[in-house]
């Protein structure tokens, strides 16, 4: 099947542009745009891990290694498109328009941070695996119904493909030609379970055959390739030609979460050895160098700006008002029924039931 679903690549690991067709898109401007976003994601991600180690936030889900897939896909979206991320896709959310301090708040167990953006249509991270795929289908069908040209994108991992909701969400989208992109980041692991134990199929892209829709396999460490694949899928969706399943092959450099110890189930050393070779950010640096676009000053400047932005977001998070227990009662329904009102009083006057 790998021959039927070849790995799409525009730039190889050495930083050579391997696609004549799309050479013209790989401009300095685009390179800098993608580079900036990936660097921003990585800076945020590393800070997240640091804050967790320092006990300043709770369990954190790192995505280092997957920046290319998350930036390439997120930047392909239009203003009013819908994004349905998982717990690992806060990078994509950030690239699309999530507010940094809200993301940090979320990792601090603050519901105030659950909605990543008040302007972009980004859902809170979907925690029950694959349950959000049908949501993306439904949001897309609603846009179709309303006659807009908006599309939806659902993010999910290789493990998610084993859940019924993966199948049901895509099947329904395929029947109604819903304008939705099913964007899979295949990082080869579901926590500790390697993909060979997750599925018997050689690729994830081939699962598109079940639904009579296009399946695309792309090098997820190649931000340009991902961007192109998602852009094409979104165009197809807006044209009314229905959903696409995209498999972005990526490597998760770190642990599943800060509560996970990957050395229990895989050889982390090997990953450390190859990581510079495969790093999506370094790949772009190589392109810059190979094409005389290297601009050290700009990179340093950019780093500084991002650092400052992240520092400010951390401050915002830590200066945020104390959590309000009343929040758990006030938003279950538009108007709290007597049960919840009574219970709220119980808690607030800390009395017995």
């Amino acid at each position: 099947m790998k021959d039927k679903f070849p790995l799409m690549q525009l730039i190889d690991q050495a930083g050579n542009i391997v696609s004549e067709e799309y050479k013209s898109d790989i401009t300095e401007e685009n390179i800098k745009k993608f580079y900036y976003h990936m660097l921003r994601l990585r800076t945020y991600d590393r800070r997240g891990r640091a804050l967790q180690r320092q006990g300043r936030i709770g369990t954190y889900v790192p995505f280092e290694g997957q920046e290319g897939a998350q930036v390439g896909s997120a930047l392909a979206l239009d203003e009013k498109d819908w994004m349905f991320p998982t717990y690992r896709d806060h990078g994509a959310a950030l690239a699309f328009g999530a507010e940094l301090h809200r993301l940090f708040l979320y990792w601090s167990g603050r519901v105030e941070g659950a909605v990543p953006s008040l302007t972009k249509r980004i859902l809170p991270a979907s925690v029950p695996i694959a349950t959000h795929l049908p949501h993306a289908t439904g949001a897309a069908m609603a846009d179709m119904y309303k006659g807009t040209k908006n599309a939806s994108i659902a993010y999910f991992g290789d493990g998610a493909t084993s859940e019924g909701d993966f199948h049901e969400g895509i099947n329904i989208a395929s029947v109604f030609k819903a304008p939705v992109v099913f964007f899979n980041q295949n990082n080869g692991y579901a926590i500790s379970v390697p993909i060979e134990k997750q599925m018997n199929s050689e690729t994830i892209a081939q699962k598109a055959v079940s639904y009579g829709i296009p399946g695309v396999r792309v090098d997820g460490m190649d931000v340009f390739a991902v961007h192109l694949a998602v852009k094409e899928a979104l165009d197809r969706a807006r044209r009314g030609d229905g959903p696409t399943l995209i498999e972005a092959v990526v490597i998760r450099f770190g642990a599943h979460t800060t509560a996970d110890d990957p050395t229990k189930y895989r050889d982390q050393e090997k990953i450390e050895q190859i990581r510079d070779e495969v790093d999506p950010i370094l790949r772009l640096e190589r392109v810059m160098k190979n094409n005389g676009m290297w601009d050290g000053a700009w990179i340093n400047q950019t780093r500084k700006e991002i650092e400052t932005e992240v520092n400010e977001a951390v401050e915002q998070m830590e200066d945020f008002d104390k959590p309000n227990p009343a929040d758990m009662f006030d938003y279950v329904f538009e108007k709290a029924p007597w049960t919840i009102q009574k219970q709220k009083e119980t808690l607030l006057r800390r009395s017995g039931s």
């Binding site: 008040l118 949501h135 909701d165 329904f333």
Partner: protein, 341 residues
């Protein structure tokens, strides 16, 4: 006064009335809302061309088109999840689960998304959607088709549970559910679908969610029921009048949130309570009603609360399903036990 519940009041100011049974009233409610709000659409299995296995949507696809009345694939988790996405994006989907026993595949969608979207986003997103499902035994349906699973949803914060027992309430509660800003599970007593017809106003009206109603007033004992058990309770109550026992019969109509006030008001008057439901006894809504009585009316109770319920067994195949479902005889016996305690 208790008898001026919204049923009566509305009927006063109504002009045209139709004599409808429950299924006709539900169709009328769906039609009313499809006509009134273009964001309302229906999804489910066999609801389009076929008009639903119970004909609840008969003719609606022809009238409102395939974009409004959608035949879905056989995929409950999928189309409930699809409805979540539609509701997020401004529509008001009304989903039909062909039989309540087939809602289980969608349980994760309902437990983790339908019921939680508003609270997990502090109200930034909300899901005005309705899940309709015929429920209950007594029509000779196959295995799994006869479950009464309401208690699996009244213990799930974020979704309301409604269950009418007659045509008038069916239309009014359905419209109220569709207009509700939050998700509602709308349970339809299969057994009453084609039962007694009632005057149903042709216009739009609502019956308030969260309010029970007095079906019969009495002074010796309060009998609580909903859906298909209301006529059963009524029958038992009428029969006992002859024996000089005056039972008050209350149709709770909404199972979450329960109408605490009507429960307390009646029990504080009669001092006795019998609860009738079709679902399994253990963990049924009856035990929550018992708790509400304990919390509100402890000092008024003259005898232990009685529950007449389905048993802690799967609903049996139809040759003995009538032995599973509470009967007027069992309710009468319970009322007597309660009164003679």
């Amino acid at each position: 006064m208790v008898m001026t519940d919204n049923r009566i009041t509305v009927q006063k100011k109504t002009t045209k009335q139709n004599k409808y049974n429950v299924i006709q009233a539900i169709k009328d409610g769906l039609k009313t809302m499809l006509a009134e709000d273009e964001n309302v659409l229906l999804l489910g299995e066999d609801i389009g061309v076929n008009g639903g296995v119970f004909r609840a949507t008969e003719g609606l696809q022809k009238e409102f088109g395939e974009k409004r009345v959608i035949d879905t694939p056989l995929s409950e988790a999928g189309f409930v999840g699809t409805a979540v996405g539609m509701a997020l994006n401004g529509l008001r989907p009304v989903v039909e689960i062909q039989f309540l026993g087939f809602i289980y595949p969608a349980y994760e969608q309902i437990a983790t998304h339908v019921s939680r979207m508003r609270s997990r986003t502090l109200g930034f997103y909300s899901l005005p959607m309705v899940i309709r499902a015929p429920y209950g035994a007594g029509v000779g349906a196959p295995e799994i088709h006869s479950d009464s699973a309401e208690a699996l949803f009244t213990h799930m914060p974020g979704i309301k549970v409604v269950c009418p027992s007659n045509a008038y309430d069916a239309k009014g509660l359905l419209i109220a559910s569709i207009e509700d800003p939050d998700p509602v599970l709308f349970l339809e007593p299969m057994r009453l679908y084609r039962g007694t017809r009632k005057e149903v106003p042709s216009e739009k009206y609502t019956v308030e969610i969260g309010k029970g109603t007095y079906v019969k007033e009495g002074k010796d004992v309060s009998v609580f029921a909903w859906g298909a058990m209301v006529p059963v309770a009524e029958k038992a109550a009428q029969a006992l009048e002859a024996e000089g026992i005056s039972s008050e019969v209350i149709d709770l109509r909404t199972l979450y949130p329960l109408d605490k006030d009507i429960i307390a008001e009646s029990v504080q008057k009669t001092g006795r309570a019998v609860i009738v439901h079709e679902a399994h006894e253990t963990g049924g809504v009856g035990s929550e009603i018992t708790s509400i009585i304990n919390d509100t009316s402890f000092l008024y109770l003259k005898s232990p609360i009685k529950r007449v319920t389905g048993f802690d067994v799967p609903v049996p195949l139809f040759s003995i399903e009538h032995d599973y479902v509470p009967t007027p005889e069992r309710v009468k016996a319970a009322i007597k036990n309660s009164v003679e305690f």
